[in-house]
């Protein structure tokens, strides 16, 4: 095992980790405000990426295409929230989860009809050679992803700490009944959270697509990894989601590198289960029993 290999594993971990982190953040935002885990987040990932591909292929400049794709994703998220999520917000968790799964099927079906079955190659944000350090190489796009994740974190921090909307979201997250008693419109907060969450998911897709290939069904795996990261990071903490995502990415890379590539999944999910158990038992002594985020 030489240094360049270890650095390559680190770079690989950084690449994987940043993808998972971004997905986890988008899931956490939605969950934070509405206590809903959206199984349709993967489709916004795909939607954002494919929209980017379509726009850039007809000549739209990357920054404009980026903004347009985000806006469209946000609009789509808004539409879905108003028409499908709001009506069932009072129901059980299971019903809501099933609804988001149904929505993801419908969205995936629409993507299939719009873009077809083939995979698309997306333009990286900056053309250039991968970064080379001591024999290991890192694609430039990964730096963009890390940068964007950092910017998003900053934005979220500003939002939650400095704006009224953010404060309202935190209040809803802590105690929605109490929040509504002080005049916060829980429905509006949910709406905003969905829009924000969908654009985050789309952003993740847009940033990640240049690293590999996107097609109508590509959103599922990143979403699952996002779930795992969100669960490990503590369901409500955005910073936790990012850290957990990065840890997961590094775990996978190092696991593949140092242990074996065969059972990478087993390692990751075992870590997940152990983490959840440890966290629950640690909190077992507290007055408010951890209802597993429900």
């Amino acid at each position: 095992m030489d240094l360049s290999q270890i650095i390559q594993f680190t770079f690989s971990g950084l690449t994987l980790g940043s993808i998972y982190a971004l997905m986890a953040v988008s899931l956490t935002i939605v969950y934070n405000a509405s206590k809903v885990i959206s199984f349709s987040q993967g489709e916004f990932f795909v939607f954002g990426a494919l929209m980017m591909v379509t726009l850039t292929s007809i000549g739209v400049a990357i920054p404009i295409a980026l903004v347009l794709s985000l806006v469209m994703a946000a609009a789509l998220g808004a539409l879905i929230e108003r028409m499908l999520i709001k009506p069932i917000l009072g129901s059980s968790v299971g019903t809501i989860v099933t609804m988001t799964i149904a929505i993801s099927l419908a969205l995936r079906g629409s993507a299939l009809l719009t873009w077809g079955r083939s995979s698309f190659v997306s333009q990286p944000f900056s053309q250039g050679e991968p970064l080379r350090i001591l024999g290991a190489s890192l694609q430039l796009q990964v730096l963009w992803i890390c940068g964007a994740t950092g910017a998003v974190l900053l934005l979220i921090w500003l939002l939650f700490e400095r704006t009224k909307v953010g404060l309202a979201m935190r209040a809803c997250s802590d105690n929605s009944l109490g929040a509504s008693l002080v005049g916060i419109s829980v429905r509006r907060v949910n709406f905003f959270a969905w829009i924000f969450g969908s654009s985050m998911g789309a952003l993740a897709g847009i940033l990640v697509a240049p690293l590999y290939f996107v097609q109508y069904a590509s959103g599922v795996m990143p979403m699952l990894s996002g779930f795992v990261a969100m669960a490990i990071g503590g369901m409500t903490s955005t910073l936790g989601a990012v850290i957990a995502g990065m840890v997961l990415g590094f775990l996978e890379a190092y696991g593949i590198g140092f242990i074996s590539s065969q059972f990478a999944d087993v390692i990751i999910f075992t870590v997940l289960i152990v983490t959840l158990l440890v966290r629950t038992r640690l909190l077992a002594g507290e007055a408010s029993s951890d209802e597993g985020g429900m």
């Binding site: 885990i37 499908l84 009506p87 069932i88 129901s91 059980s92 968790v93 299971g94 019903t95 989860v97 099933t98 609804m99 799964i101 149904a102 929505i103 993801s104 099927l105 419908a106 969205l107 995936r108 079906g109 629409s110 299939l112 009809l113 699952l224 779930f227 795992v228 669960a231 369901m235 065969q262 059972f263 999944d265 087993v266 999910f269 075992t270 997940l272 289960i273 959840l276 158990l277 966290r279 629950t280 038992r281 029993s289 951890d290 209802e291 597993g292 985020g293 429900m294």
Partner: protein, 332 residues
């Protein structure tokens, strides 16, 4: 009382089905076998999720364990299918107990995540231990189910084995949830802490339900293996677990009959939408959305609501007394 008539009619219908359809449409009999397998999966999950309140995205893991145990022991070691099935039951039961005592301390979304992890781990293990399970290329040459020397090679006969088991599973689930044990489950579902103060050993009970549900899932797996004669891990992953959970919610959680309907509905749906080809995925999603938005209690709720409306229509024809009897009857 009325429900008993319904059940009897349904059982008679099921018994008559292959006799009537067997010659003219053997395909429908074959499809009914798959439906039966998934009814077992959905109903057993309902006991766990709907009554004990333990959300599980890992049901397919036990489906896989039952299927592969039966498959491996009959295909590779020539064991009699019934013995392989019992081994599968023992294996899944013990595994479920071990997992139950550790993981069921989790609640809500944490439990969902952990059970999701279980699905993923079992899938990985099946693929990884290729020499035993056939890996991703699949396990071949599984013989048909046989009992006392009679081989259920023909689907028309195997149908009866499968649906007999379905009745067994549905029957025992109904008995379980209607009994005092069932009321204990509802108490735990409502509020575990409160139940604890009433002297209920929540952990022990949760684990027993988990074992109960998982063993039934494994049973479904064993039946499935002898139906397809071939197993591939792709049919037993996370998505299968999610699929079964959708059946439960679609049908109406916590009703036993509902998830059975949900299983039948979701498994039959492709038969009607496959002609949509590229539109199929979209159509499936839209149908699911429609059912969820308009019937929050799922398909079973829809059925009950329709039944009530029909009752209203007959109110004038003087069957008031019988309706009152109906209204007093509990939902299940």
């Amino acid at each position: 009382m009325k429900t008993k008539f319904l059940l009897l009619f349904v059982v008679l219908l099921l018994a008559a089905y292959p006799i009537v359809m067997g010659k003219s449409s053997p395909y429908s009999v074959a499809i009914m076998i798959v439906l039966g397998v998934y009814v077992i999966l959905a109903v057993s999950l309902d006991v766990l999720v709907g009554f004990a309140g333990q959300i599980s995205l890992g049901h397919a893991a036990f489906f896989a364990i039952g299927a592969y145990t039966s498959g491996i022991f009959t295909a590779k070691y020539d064991l009699p299918p019934i013995l392989a099935l019992l081994i599968g039951q023992a294996f899944s039961g013990s595994l479920a107990w071990l997992i139950g005592v550790s993981v069921l301390a989790l609640r809500g979304y944490y439990l969902a995540m952990a059970t999701l992890g279980l699905s993923a781990i079992v899938y990985s293990l099946i693929v990884g231990f290729q020499s035993v399970t056939g890996g991703a290329s699949g396990l071949r040459d599984i013989p048909p189910f046989s009992l006392f020397g009679f081989s259920f090679d023909e689907y028309v006969y195997y149908y009866y084995v499968v649906w007999a088991v379905v009745c067994l599973v549905v029957g025992s689930s109904l008995l379980l949830v209607k009994s005092s044990f069932g009321r204990t489950l509802t108490a735990i579902h409502g509020d575990e802490t409160a139940a604890g103060t009433l002297g209920i050993y929540c952990d022990k009970i949760k684990t027993s339900v988990f074992v109960f549900a998982s063993m039934f899932a494994a049973l479904a797996g064993s039946l499935y293996a002898h139906y397809t004669s071939f197993l591939a891990p792709d049919d037993f992953g996370i998505f299968t677990s999610i699929h079964i959970l959708i059946m439960v919610f679609l049908g109406g959680i916590g009703t036993i009959y509902g998830p059975a309907l949900g299983a039948i509905f979701l498994k039959l749906l492709p038969e009607f939408t496959h002609s949509f080809r590229d539109y199929e995925l979209l159509v499936n999603g839209l149908i699911l959305i429609t059912v969820l938005v308009f019937t929050q209690k799922g398909l079973w709720g829809m059925f009950l609501a329709m039944r009530k409306r029909f009752m209203e229509a007959f109110r004038s024809s003087g069957v008031r007394k019988r309706e009152e009897e109906m209204d007093e009857e509990p939902v299940i």
